[in-house]
Amino acid sequence: MSVGLWEAFGLIVRRELCLSFRRPDQLAQPLVFFLIVTTLFPLGLSLQLSLLRDMAPGVLWVAALLSSLLSLDALFKSDADDGTLEQLALCGQGLNVIVVAKTFAHWLVTGAALVLVSPVVGTALGIPGGAFATMMLSLGLGTLTLSWLGAIGAGLTVGLKRGNVLLSLIVLPLAMPLLIFGAGATDRAITGTSAAGALYFLAALCVFTCTLAPFAATAALRITLE
């Protein structure tokens, strides 16, 4: 019985989501981490909302990048450890589809969830409600791009015992444009100026990585699986 391209994609996404929802505590961990990191900044800086509002885009984005990175380590790890990944690689569909499906599913449970939580954090940091739409859109585009960059890093470090720190070391420099334009867009939305330019850039980066990163991530996995 042969499985079509989209069928394989759907099956893997469903499998990943199913596995994630069976462990709700692990699902919640990156989100809780996101909340904790954003709590650290007011405690360390100042309680004044006016001052926090100036910092808010940066704080929000740094916390989002860190919490997405934290969970990226697990993207291929457990499947590579128990041999599932090799079985999937041999299933007849290209490794590409598997990488795309797994990364997309991973973004759904981390990035998209983070976008949904972000208004709560935004309110706590004093971001006005009018800026939420831009903030969430920029976070959505940014975390999706980061998932792709992270998939390359995760593919490269999956065979390593202590790959977690190395993964951040590799991916964070590549993710700096995201921080610049993401925080820039949020900042502009807060001050009431047009955030379109920064959002277009984020969207361009997102499309760029969505098209090219799967190949790089697949090549990375091949190197480690060989």
Binding site: L166, I170, L174, M176, G184, A198, A216, A219, I223, T224
Partner: protein, 243 residues
């Protein structure tokens, strides 16, 4: 026509070429850097605005240029090694990475030393300095990825792939950092910019640039010899080559 290319896959040949080229590179580097230093530090007139402090450009600009040049060399060598399965490409990439990281560090240090009298601070989040710093992080990630694998061949391939990804990203990072500054419109700092330099200032700079490239070539050849010896330590030809 392609024989020269295929011969680059042979470790003894690469070792021999590197050993023969290194002294030539070193000799010409000494001449060009020597001229550049004397002409730049002694004979060039002081800048009408920056005084003698501008003279650090004779070290700063060439090292900033070389930091990008060695990154490109490293990434292309890695790509060649990945595509044509030429192991010596990995040796070139591995030999190039620490040199490039050193140039990056040198550019950062000289930049901040220049910033102290000019901007009144050692560090400003100037786009050029910032993107140079990110480049240093890229080098760091690359080198630690290569050494993280127990199987060196796997580490080589992983580092080569990361090099290609980084090469695509370096322009994106650079321009986003530049635009980020124009978005924020922070402290406006005096930059060297592109003033029309008089010849007495320009020629030493070009000479230093050429000298740094030759010096890079020399160090690359020497490090490459070391890499080849280390990678081929089981091979028989090494006993004949070293004697």
């Amino acid at each position: 026509m392609w024989t020269w290319f295929y011969r680059l896959a042979s470790p003894p040949y690469v070792y021999g070429v590197a050993a023969r080229l290194a002294p030539w590179f070193l000799g010409f580097a000494a001449v060009t850097i020597g001229y550049g230093l004397v002409a730049g530090l002694v004979f060039a007139p002081p800048d009408y605005q920056q005084g003698d402090a501008f003279r650090i450009i004779y070290v700063h600009a060439p090292s900033a240029w070389m930091s990008l040049f060695s990154y490109t060399t490293m990434a292309i060598a890695g790509a060649i090694a990945l595509i044509w399965r030429i192991k010596m490409g990995h040796a070139v990439a591995a030999a190039s990475a620490p040199i490039g990281a050193s140039f990056t560090l040198l550019a950062l240090v000289t930049g901040s030393l220049w910033g102290r009298p000019m901007w009144g601070t050692y560090w400003a989040w100037d786009p050029r300095l910032t993107s140079e710093l990110i480049l240093l992080f890229l080098y760091a990630g690359m080198m630690s990825l290569r050494s993280a694998f127990e199987d060196p061949a796997r580490g080589d391939r992983a580092a080569a792939l990361l090099g290609i990804v980084g090469l695509v990203n370096v322009p994106i990072i650079h321009y986003s950092v530049v635009w980020w500054n124009s978005l924020h419109q922070g402290a406006t700092v005096a930059k060297l910019g592109k003033p029309a330099m008089p010849g007495s200032m320009l020629w030493p700079l070009l000479s230093m640039l050429l000298g740094f490239m030759l010096f890079y070539g020399a160090v690359l050849c020497m490090r490459l010899q070391g890499e080849v010896l280390n990678r081929e330590r089981q091979a028989k030809w090494i006993r004949e080559a070293i004697g």
